[in-house]
Symmetry: C2
């Protein structure tokens, strides 16, 4: 049994990235003088081996400041992204980073703190660079005639490489390739739960959760755009892409029980807890760690936030 | 005209308290080794004058670490609170701190990071000690048959000493004297808007907003428990205690316009913006600074969070 605070702290497990960087000798990934990620000492060492062997001019290592940055001349997104793509391609062939065996062919943007993108990086390497990633998490729920809410929750396939069999949102996914959060929400609803677009579009933005997590893959500071999607009583989500084993329709009490039993994937637990707080189901009267939970759901990140063009 | 990011940043205006403390020579208020507040150099100097004149044994000043703390023997809430009350009583008579002329006769708790209270301090002095304060903000709204939301918003009396004539929540107030957030919400709804308790109890906890602000009164790191209260169509709030001049019933578009015109008191602006985000009215598609706004609405505070007994 876990407390809800333990669950959100497990998701937001990197409490102090500066302390961790100091202790483990992490390198900061710096673009235009802004911190945009962190790399482990061993990833830096492997990366440097390939850079040196190729005498690749794009990358600069500073072993005093412990930073990785781009050399002069690599001053825009296009030239930096091309250099990273070339390097990662070589590292993939050379099996330099194990993570690259799961090449996704999907680019993640690294924001520069203004309205622009500093560099695009293949998704499979995002954990190695420790860049801030973005995703969507959708809370699918129904409301009975008496007003009682129930959540639709997915059970991950037992064959998923990460968190097999754990409970998950009705749909969720990373945002890549310059897609917008809304568009990504509609896409994931269709792909993961068979929710047709006209129904998915009933979803509503409900803010974000934000955490800094670490897994066997690496460091992941992440912002999830949260959506609430009220579904009609007679709609039943259906696994469509093999990622989900089945869907469960549960009362909020049952969701809390299953949270405390540790059945949810950690960032999904955080998203469900945020839903329960926003809907007034969890309160300081029932949850002694209410404020500390909220701090862990809305953790600030040192990386630049994107600014949306509109 | 202000952007919404400018509004929340104006509320959460102390971005880096450590930097500010360094720059202005603030003293940390430390209890049981935990930072619980900050005092200005001039407030410390005036306070020290009174402590020295009385040879008051409870207070310890460290001019190297720049801390104010309690002496040995003042190890529990009762003895510390009595010492503070005695000192503030003398300072009130002696007009040492101007703030004490607005004595509230209401005690604010300073939490100790476990389940306990470190010390209780008269509300009028809370800004001088820079302690973390707690309040409730209530979003009163109606929903039309077509689902359109409108907010009830109070206009502060032109005679209020702070922010006269500015727009405010339908009801809001500080939590003192060991009152719970729920109880405080019901009380403020009655006192400020004439909302009867049975109607106020339809309110729902909806999370918190949290900011570190500074005004002419002093430093104020604050956590506001946010409530959403859906009101019936035919209910009209009524000014009851002279604090509110009138109430306005506005569409969400009008709320955004009035926000940008700077008509709202800053922390009320933050609470309305949080409501608009949670309800999906503000989205990254319409609001370019969406993520930075959220960071300013959920700013972490270094002070211990209370743990609720239940």
């Amino acid at each position: 049994m876990s407390t809800l605070l333990e669950l959100v702290s497990k998701c937001n497990c990197v409490a102090d990235i500066e302390l961790l960087a100091e202790r483990e000798g992490l390198y900061e990934f710096v673009v235009n003088g802004r911190l945009v990620g962190h790399l482990s000492a061993s990833d830096i060492s492997a990366l440097r081996g390939v850079v040196n062997a190729q005498a690749h001019p794009a990358f600069k290592f500073d072993d005093v400041q412990r930073t990785l940055s781009f050399s002069e001349g690599f001053d825009d997104c296009a030239s930096r992204s091309a250099a990273v793509a070339e390097l990662l391609g070589q590292m993939r062939s050379g099996k330099t980073w194990a993570s690259l065996s799961k090449w996704r062919n999907e680019l993640y943007p690294v924001y520069d703190g203004t309205a622009g993108i500093a560099v695009m990086i293949e998704r499979a390497a995002s954990y190695n660079f420790g860049i801030r990633t973005f995703g969507v998490h959708i809370n699918g729920f129904t409301r009975s005639t008496t007003g009682e809410l129930r959540m639709w929750v997915g059970r991950r396939s037992p064959h998923k490489p990460t968190w097999p069999g754990y409970l998950d949102q009705i749909a969720a996914g990373g945002i890549g390739d310059g897609m917008g959060a809304w568009e990504c929400m509609v896409k994931e609803c269709g792909e993961e739960a068979g929710i047709p677009p006209e129904l998915a579009r009933r979803g509503r933005f409900a803010g974000t959760i934000q955490y800094f997590t670490r897994s066997e893959l690496g460091l992941q500071p992440e912002t999830q755009f949260v959506f609430d999607l009220e579904l009609p009583d007679d709609f039943v989500p259906a696994p469509t892409d093999g990622e989900v084993d089945s869907f469960l329709h549960m009362t909020l009490d049952e969701a809390v029980d299953r949270l405390k039993q540790g059945e949810f994937k950690p960032n999904c637990a955080a998203c469900v807890i945020d839903f329960l707080i926003r809907r007034g189901f969890l309160t300081p009267d029932t949850e002694p760690e209410y404020l500390s939970i909220l701090d862990n759901l809305h953790r600030p990140l040192p990386h630049p936030a994107p600014r949306y063009n509109n």
